[in-house]
Symmetry: C2
Subunit: 135 residues, 2 copies
DNA sequence: TTTAATGCAAAGCGTTTGCACTGCT
DNA sequence: AGCAGTGCAAACGCTTTGCATTAAA
């Protein structure tokens, strides 16, 4: 499911983002290749595949994509770095504490029932499952 | 349930922490008065109640207390600042998005059932409920 | 030609660290 | 005297910002 440059470009335009070459490269990576990358990892990929892009542009573009809803940004307990997630669907995460790897968990695989005081109205739930993946 | 200085002092000693005046003051605040305070808030309280304590000592002491298991440190999605929690029992949090207030939620009030691929072995779960408290 | 995007370096924010000094024991 | 604890300022890691330069419509 490799999207063409034209497709990616169109998706950016639809999101209200002018599809410059730098943005397309970043978008291609985070939307197709990167697995929960940090800004640092995006920058490293760009250095290899689209040299001369500044870290500021990486951050600016990632923030744009997040604001446009094309990407989600998460902060996890185990690191200070923001992690970008192409999965914009409702889902949770499993953190493999051995490797630091994040694994998407579909919302249907986690069932939560709360029994709170009635004045607490829940609008959303954040779940991080911590553990190990057997190998 | 105001603990005496002697009691607090003893608790610190039992935790392997030498009870200096600064540490006692910080411990008194976070263990009895502060509601999920940040280091900044601890420092502000100290400035009012125990002047001349450095920010470094605040951080060092909070870290000591966390290592000793007397306190827990959390990072939440809505802020970069670490939040200290005197509740060392297994519990979750409700974040009032209107006020930024954190409310402890006893573990018994949240029931979670997961249905993951068998190779994912869960050791712990992080839950943050986001919403509003009706008033 | 007007406007937006980029690159660079500096600043910002929360937290940590190095090191000299203080004060118990 | 010895040594843990403290205070100060500098350093740190990640992210954002200001501003001059470049590219695009």
């Amino acid at each position: 499911m490799e999207a063409s440059t034209a497709e990616l470009s169109e998706r950016l335009q639809r999101a209200g983002i002018k599809p410059t070459a730098q943005r397309l490269a970043i978008y291609r990576y985070v939307a197709e290749e990167g697995e929960h990358p940090t800004a640092e990892q995006v920058k490293a990929w760009m250095d290899r595949n689209f040299p001369k892009v500044s870290l500021a542009t990486v951050y600016n573009t990632l923030n744009l994509l997040v604001q446009a809803g094309e990407l989600r940004a998460f902060r996890f307990p185990h690191t200070d770095k923001v992690v970008y997630d192409r999965n914009t669907a409702h889902h949770y995460h499993f953190l493999d504490e051995e490797t630091g790897t994040l694994i998407d968990v579909p919302a249907e695989q986690v069932h939560i029932r709360t029994d709170l005081e009635p004045e607490l109205k829940v609008d959303g739930i954040h779940v991080v499952l911590r553990g190990r993946r057997r190998h």
